[in-house]
């Protein structure tokens, strides 16, 4: 059944999950109806918090998002997730596995999780991720979490669409931290060293703290450090609301102010 753009836009605004999902497919498939729906969507009045979660493969991004969903749901928030995974460049197929870690939330009506394949798009996201985000915003999700593909150093599109970017790293980085400094760690507003239970965690934590403004330690699958992360995200959100700038720079100022008032 094909619906017209006006009807679909109306249904999205009413948080009709089927319509939200359909519109995302239309956008992914570059169907003109998708574009027409986007033109008719109005962002909801309350502004969503959009958080990008990026980092090397396997560092625990999806597990962390699973815990963030739990925490935000306890706070009564409606949560949307866009989880991007890579398409095979040869066959175009993909096994989208991020949501395995989040399935406990699958049938929570206040949680919407969508897996997206990159379909050849470079930069760590799918071409349609930014527009899918607009659909979730129009459906008034409070918190929107975007998981990038397990990225390297140059796949940083997430910075363009998420006002707060969390880089998830795991212990045992060693000298790599220097290399990451121009790239992943540089664009991140918050660095999370997950797998804090692993060997070498103390050391990596110290190395990261020497290089980055805001480093938190988590053990995602055991729900350790999640509330601290939520508190920092909320704080950054407030700062952004106040002066409209990204937290990378803002924190720098705060840190400096803290340093002078402390002396």
């Amino acid at each position: 059944m094909r619906l017209d753009a006006a009807t679909l836009a109306e249904q999205v605004a009413k948080v009709d999950v089927r319509a939200i999902a359909r519109v995302m497919s239309l956008i992914e498939n570059r169907d003109p109806v998708g574009t027409a729906v986007l033109a008719q969507l109005t962002p909801s009045r309350a502004q969503a918090s959009v958080i990008g979660i990026t980092g090397y493969p396997g560092t625990g991004k999806s597990t962390l998002i699973d815990q963030l969903i739990t925490a935000y749901r306890r706070l009564g928030q409606k949560v949307g997730v866009l989880a991007v995974d890579i398409s095979s460049p040869i066959t175009g197929g993909a096994v989208l596995g991020d949501r395995i870690r989040m399935q406990q939330h699958a049938d929570d009506p206040k949680v919407f999780i969508r897996s997206m394949a990159t379909r050849g798009h470079q930069g760590g996201l799918a071409h349609a991720t930014g527009e899918a985000l607009r659909v979730l915003e129009a459906a008034a999700y409070d918190m929107i979490l975007i998981e990038t593909v397990g990225v390297g150093q140059n796949e940083l599109d997430i910075v363009q669409i998420a006002p707060i970017v969390v880089a998830v790293v795991a212990p045992g980085l060693g000298d790599e931290i220097q290399a990451m400094k121009a790239g992943l760690l540089e664009v991140a507003d918050i660095v999370v060293m997950n797998k804090g239970d692993h060997e070498g965690a103390d050391r990596t934590m110290r190395d990261l703290q020497a290089q980055c403004r805001m480093v938190l330690r988590t053990v995602a699958h055991r729900d350790e450090g999640i509330l601290e992360l939520i508190a920092v995200i909320a704080e950054y959100r407030r700062i952004q609301d106040l002066n409209g700038s990204r937290c990378g720079k803002t924190t720098e100022r705060l840190v400096q102010r803290g340093a002078t008032s402390g002396s």
């Binding site: 089927r18 498939n29 570059r30 066959t91 197929g93 096994v95 395995i100 399935q103 699958a106 999780i113």
Partner: protein, 135 residues
């Protein structure tokens, strides 16, 4: 035109209690190699989780593997929830150990296809690719 170029999206997962996922992972990989986007949910899914996931992911079809013997309740339950939630157009197929005598009843209930444990992978791939034409 844009629609013809769009990859199929298929949910692959396991319902029920058994923790045996080798076969279902092989199916997921074979379909990926055939150009399909697989939404892999992992093990121990309830029918409610399966249907909510299928709707959010806007899949063309759901493929469920069952070895626990609970197919006679789980598969009809998935069909019921799909219809109840206005998603009766999403096809359901199954695989695993399903006794021959149960097959006619499940098919009559609306399960499109049931694959036994000895089904060649290519048959599953062919079945899924044919869904494209129908959808």
């Amino acid at each position: 035109m844009a629609v013809a170029a769009a990859p199929l999206r298929i949910l692959i997962g396991k319902v029920g209690l058994d923790g045996h996922d080798r076969g279902v992972k092989l199916v997921a990989r074979a379909l990926r190699d055939a150009g399909v986007e697989i939404i892999y949910t992992g093990l121990h899914q309830t029918p409610e989780q399966v249907v909510a996931t299928a709707i959010q992911e806007d899949v063309h079809a759901i493929g469920l593997s069952i070895h626990s013997g609970a197919h006679n309740s789980l598969l009809p339950r998935v069909l019921h929830l799909l219809r109840e939630q206005g998603a009766g157009d999403i096809a359901l197929f199954g695989g695993g150990i399903i006794p021959d005598e149960d097959v006619p009843r499940l098919k009559a209930a609306g399960v499109q296809m049931l694959f036994g444990p000895a089904t060649p992978m290519q048959s599953i791939v062919n079945f899924v690719k044919a869904l494209h034409v129908e959808h």
